[in-house]
């Protein structure tokens, strides 16, 4: 927003009011007639007035007596279309001046939306359930357990393109049950239930050596071939004498080869201090694990553990690379109770010795559980909660045979199953009679951490919130949090959804069909293919010997031809590299605070050897992703030409210029086209042939646009989508399709022409930077707030966009703008009356929204 014109508007209003405040509606009407209506008359009424109501909009329906409250959605559309230069249409010669446009924008905001720039309406967020990503990360930070929430919980529903929208995050009985099971599993894994356990040492397979102890630090399994004799040994030092248990874990491995067997056998033995405990023949049984357990009464000192393998079948064919894997030997002991040691993680959950007296134990349980609940609920807990938890723990540890630790662990399960963990409850500061109040600092800490980390606040945030000093340290905390590794979540979850980069790992693309469209027609190969199909479709027993030979011959030719083809398939490693490219570019711009416009066009990207080869970028070696400066003639650089975007906007066998166009309009320009009409008129066979060849997508779409109903939207979507036609559905560059050269030229609905993708990128950077800032702000704000944006958020978005522009397009301005904004900082206040009456305030707001 331009502050000067805002002041101007205020002056205009107060001039009319003669210093006396007038009812808002009167002011709005008066200003409308004086200032706004003449502009609308000149530029809009041709189509939206005097009996015309294109698109169902008649702007002359509004006059001095109109109450604008009931027409916010219409004016919101007017504002969007005006700003995006969609209205008046580009082809019209007479267009409003920038000043006139700004005047209308300001009038809509101040009079129709009644927005107060100094105190914008923060809106209302519905209580948010942790989505599965947030759950997984929160568990990791709370307990240290790596819980596979993505594998266990069902996908979260999305709204506005994101999976963290409070309204849509529902909770079915099935999911609740899963939360309970998960809580038990996580606590079972994290929290020890004994204060002492038998000491345990794992000797990895690789620590058994042929001669002496090596300095090699590799610690993992070791495989011994069936085909060569081997003897490996390890000296185990037992610090104390006593009863020990040795667990030996082995596995038989093989390299699988179709229809080929391997009849080799070996004799394998395990000796302790020279005494043979295991001696057994192993044969071909790939993938089978073995477990053996032995008790030993050991004196203190060194003990020698040996494995020996002897091949038994020197003559057998060695086809499957059979091997015996020594996974590990686990030495447990001494078994005597007094030799027990602290279990792993013990101090993390139980920092002190468990006291003996009942009262002291109860107090210790209260301490432990109060602190755990505070972190899990992300705010201080009252003594009632702590007491109930301690009582729950006591009801367990008072049972015979149950430990104190087991009782506390059980209460921790209850904490993780509580709605206070699963939902993010927020409190507000006292409102002092205002309609909006600041959320309290604990809520702010969670808003920050779930926005930037998709996880719970860390101890530093908690401490600042407890001291009431988080708000005053907001910018320092923002910088710290962005620099933290956990901020990767923003790339994975925000960018992954905004640019749909997450989908690249699973989107089905059939490389063969895609590439077939670019293949030069070869009559010889086509004849071969026809013949192959004919023969292959016949049942085997009806083939003549001559046909059989021919089939084998044709198949061999095909196989050979296929081998000659360049590998272009979207293999898992390539897909992963593409996702990492999209995340990496965003992360780089964010963390280096570079211009956001580099997302649209840049002379670099992120790639490893595999992706660089795919893109045709030379001299990149190795598997790690890094910043790569692009060759001067490269069409890459910027999100539009990243593999992720190009592939996820394609159909399985071909590109979809329509989907790509919609992607650009929605995610870059912020003007998503209307959804397709319910009854799509059929194209039928009108486009079977164009000038004697199969039609290209451009030709198909051109026929499509001849229908005016289709044209109204496809004129917007098709040109930017067709600009990407040089990239096939795999995201690879191509010059032709169906033997027709690619024509990527076009004209944006806002009037600018371009001849290829590079020019389109330049048009976007030069003419649409503000649109892009606004779009990105809207998307990121939606993600940060966990709710869809409404008309009352226009003011907030404008303020953030102005801040980004002032900074020269810096991500730091965007992020600071969001976390300092009213909707991020505040909440609507529920009055006492409405709170008890079931929240009429919400209904009122809902009605206002229309």
């Amino acid at each position: 927003m331009n502050p000067r014109s805002f002041i101007l508007t205020l002056l205009v209003i107060s001039a009319w009011a003669g210093g006396e405040p007038l009812p808002a509606a009167v002011v709005a009407s008066a200003e409308f007639n004086q200032k706004i209506r003449p502009i609308l008359e000149e530029y809009c009424y041709d189509c939206h007035g005097g009996g015309e109501n294109r698109g169902g909009v008649a702007l002359d329906a509004f006059n001095s007596t109109t109450n604008f409250d009931g027409s916010r959605d219409v004016w919101w559309r007017v504002l969007k279309n005006l700003r995006a230069n969609l209205m008046p249409p580009a082809k019209r010669k007479s267009r409003p001046t920038p000043e006139q446009k700004e005047l209308i924008a300001q009038w809509i905001k101040s009079s129709v939306f009644e927005a107060d720039p100094l105190n914008p309406d923060p809106g209302r967020v519905t209580l948010r359930r942790l989505n599965r990503v947030e759950y997984q990360n929160t568990i990791r930070d709370l307990t240290g357990v790596d819980f596979d929430a993505l594998g266990v919980f069902p996908p979260d529903d999305t709204g506005h393109g994101f999976d963290n929208i409070g309204d849509v995050l529902t909770l079915s009985p099935m999911l609740l049950e899963k939360y309970l099971v998960a809580a038990e599993k996580i606590i079972g894994q994290a929290v020890p239930t004994e204060s002492r356990v038998v000491p345990e040492q794992v000797v990895a397979g690789s620590q058994f050596r042929t001669g002496g102890q090596s300095k090699d630090t590799y610690s993992g399994p070791q495989s011994l071939s069936y085909y060569e004799p081997a003897f490996v040994t390890n000296i185990f030092h037992a610090a104390q004498a006593g009863q020990y248990q040795l667990d030996v874990d082995l596995m038989v491995n093989e390299k699988y080869v179709d229809d080929v067997f391997d009849y080799n056998k070996c004799r394998f033995s395990f000796r302790v201090d020279g005494k043979e405990l295991l001696a057994r023949e192993f044969s071909w049984e790939g993938g089978k694990p073995y477990h053996f357990s032995y008790n030993q009464n050991w004196a203190a000192g060194d003990h020698q553990l040996d494995f020996e393998l002897r091949p038994l079948t020197p003559g057998a064919a060695q086809t499957r690379t059979l091997s015996l894997q020594i996974t590990a030997v686990t030495v447990r002991g001494p078994m005597a109770k007094e030799s027990g040691v602290r279990p792993k993680n013990y101090a993390q959950f139980f920092p002190r010795e468990v006291p003996a007296p009942a009262a002291a134990r109860r107090q210790y349980a209260r301490e432990l559980l109060g602190d755990f609940a505070r972190r899990a609920f992300r705010r201080p807990v009252d003594s009632d909660t702590t007491n109930r938890l301690a009582k729950l723990a006591e009801s367990i540890y008072d049972q015979p045979g149950k430990t104190f630790e087991a009782g506390v662990a059980e209460a921790m399960v209850a904490v993780l199953a509580s709605p206070r963990f699963i939902f993010r409850e927020e409190n507000a500061e006292p409102a002092g009679g205002q309609p909006y109040a600041l959320v309290d600092e604990y809520a702010l800490a969670s808003r920050l951490s779930y926005f930037l980390w998709s996880s719970m606040p860390d101890e530093e945030l908690f401490q600042l919130a407890a001291a009431g000093r988080l708000r005053e340290n907001l910018s320092a905390q923002l910088a710290r949090m962005i620099a933290d590794k956990r901020a990767d979540a923003l790339e994975k979850n925000f960018v992954g959804q905004w640019l749909q980069a997450r989908d690249i790992e699973t989107i089905p693309i059939d490389a063969r069909s895609v590439l077939a469209r670019e293949q030069k027609f070869d009559p010889e190969r086509d004849a071969l293919r026809q013949r192959f199909r004919e023969l292959n479709d016949k049942p085997d027993d009806t083939l003549t010997p001559a046909e059989k030979t021919e089939l084998a011959d044709v198949r061999a030719k095909f196989f050979k031809a296929r081998q000659g083809q360049p590998a272009a398939d979207l293999t898992p490693d390539l897909r992963r590299a593409m996702r990492q490219e999209t995340e990496g570019v965003f992360s780089y711009i964010l963390r280096e605070d570079r211009s956001l416009l580099e997302l649209l066009d840049s002379d670099y990207t992120f790639a490893n050897e595999r992706l660089a080869r795919f893109y045709g970028i030379p001299d990149v070696f190795g598997s790690e992703m890094r910043r790569v400066t692009l060759p001067p003639d490269s069409p890459r650089g910027g999100i539009l030409t990243e593999g992720t975007v190009l592939a996820v906007t394609s159909n399985p066998t071909r590109t979809s210029p329509v989907k790509r166009g919609v992607f650009i309009l929605d995610n870059i320009l912020g003007i998503p086209p209307l959804p397709p009409p319910p009854n799509i008129p059929p194209l039928e066979d009108a486009i079977k042939n164009v000038d004697g060849h199969a039609p290209t997508l451009r030709e198909t779409l051109a026929v499509h646009r001849e229908n005016p109903l289709c044209a109204s939207c496809h004129d917007q979507m098709d040109p930017p989508g067709l600009a990407l036609e040089n990239f096939n559905a795999l995201g690879k560059w191509r010059d032709q399709e169906f033997n027709q050269p690619i024509d990527a030229a076009g004209r944006l609905v806002t009037g600018e022409s371009f001849s290829n993708i590079r020019e389109l990128k330049q048009v976007l950077v030069k003419n649409h930077a503000e649109d892009f800032y606004r779009t990105l702000t809207q998307k990121l704000l939606t993600y940060a707030l966990g709710r869809g944006l409404d008309y009352y958020d226009v003011e907030t978005v404008d303020q953030i966009v102005a801040r980004i522009e002032k900074s020269g397009g810096r991500p730091s301005a965007l992020l600071a703008g969001i976390v300092e904004s009213a909707p991020f900082q505040k909440a609507r206040v529920r009055s006492e009356a409405t709170a008890t009456a079931g929240d009429n305030a919400d209904e009122k707001f809902a009605k206002e929204k229309l």
Partner: protein, 467 residues
Amino acid sequence: MKTKSATDQDLAAQRRASFTRRHFLRGLGACIALPAFESLLPTKLLAAGAPEGGLATTATGAPLRTAFVYFPNGAIPGAWWPAAEGADFQLSRTLQPLAPAQKQIQVIGGLDHLNAMPGADGGGDHARANGTFLTGVRMKKSATDIHAGISIDQAIARQVGHLTRFPSLELTCDAGRNTGACDSGYSCAYQYNLAWSSPNTPMTPEANPRQVFERLFGAGAPGERVANARRRRQEEGSILDFVMQDARSMQHRLGGRDQDKLDQYLTGIRELEGRIQKAEQLGEAKDPMVETPPGLPADYAQHIHLMYDIMLLAFQTDSTRIATMLLAHDGSNRSFADIGIPEGHHDLSHHQGNADKIEKITEIDLWYVQQFGKFLEKMSATQDVDGNSLLHNSMIVYGGGNADGNRHTHVNLPVVLAGGGGGTITPGRFVKHGGKPASNLFLSLADRMGVKNLERFGDSTGRLANI
């Protein structure tokens, strides 16, 4: 000496997974081959024998089950519909795989979902087809403010759900989820859920065979599950008390929509408590003594088979009498490369009269019916407590909310009703009803399930006669 390569490990893991998968299927197959299943049924039910006020029970005292299976994107009408009505009808090309079960299926023509038509809502036929299918209502067009209606399976479950350990079972074979917005301004919730327990609470379906199996029968190896389930139940009691109190006090602090969320939480807690009570009355779930199935199979056909197997097992063990299964959401653009159709299903379904595309879609329709046919064969080969087949004692609707995927029509929906309803319906026919709400059929099924006081459902205009 060399260390094991990563590829070796991957291969071994894959082989183990496929071994387990085979093992599960084989195990289940063996289970089905048994002559009788008393061992798997709750003893109380057998002892009771007689119908409990006719609630989800056949005249012979066996459980009566209802299931709804959804396939996406409509079906090519010319290949779907049999040529002529009647008991001696000829199966159409698409329905040919149902031939072995022809005497136990009823092809139902002339059912509509007018609330899935665009009306004033414009685009979004896939979301509407999916969301309206079992609810019969017009959904609110919104990305976040979701509002559908209670679905028929849940309306039935409300009254018969207390009879079994699980009031209902929701399954899906659509495991993946793309990012971004769904269909034309509709929330994704409409497209990925069939069952709704209230207008704003979808019953999220489970996609992972292992997870759903363990939920039904407990975790652990065959033979260990009963003990595992009992131990869990004992531990859960005190935890449920604690969280219930938390939820209640939290609910007091919240308003409006936030309270709805807490309601969803409390509903879940009550269901768990109900199950604990049921376990106390009826004993723990019987262990089906088959291997626990693996997690998500990569292969779609495998996935579908496993989920059908589990539905069968849930019915056979009387773990539930109500199930829904979403094979894929309407609008699914799945590629069927395995059967030589690499294009996307949805993309193809807008065939615009192209014969090649119509042929491919017909093949996909047929493929889905083949999988259903295999399920029906198993249901038919499984004997129920009363000596009839499981299929005889079931009512299984196989259908979709889009009729012609090319034009997004929602009249004359493709619907097959399989099973004998315990002898209350007359299968083996093709019957045309000439433009009745699909909700009418649902009411007729609810009646047979013994549901009382359900005068109307969705956009129903009455009961569907002659089924």
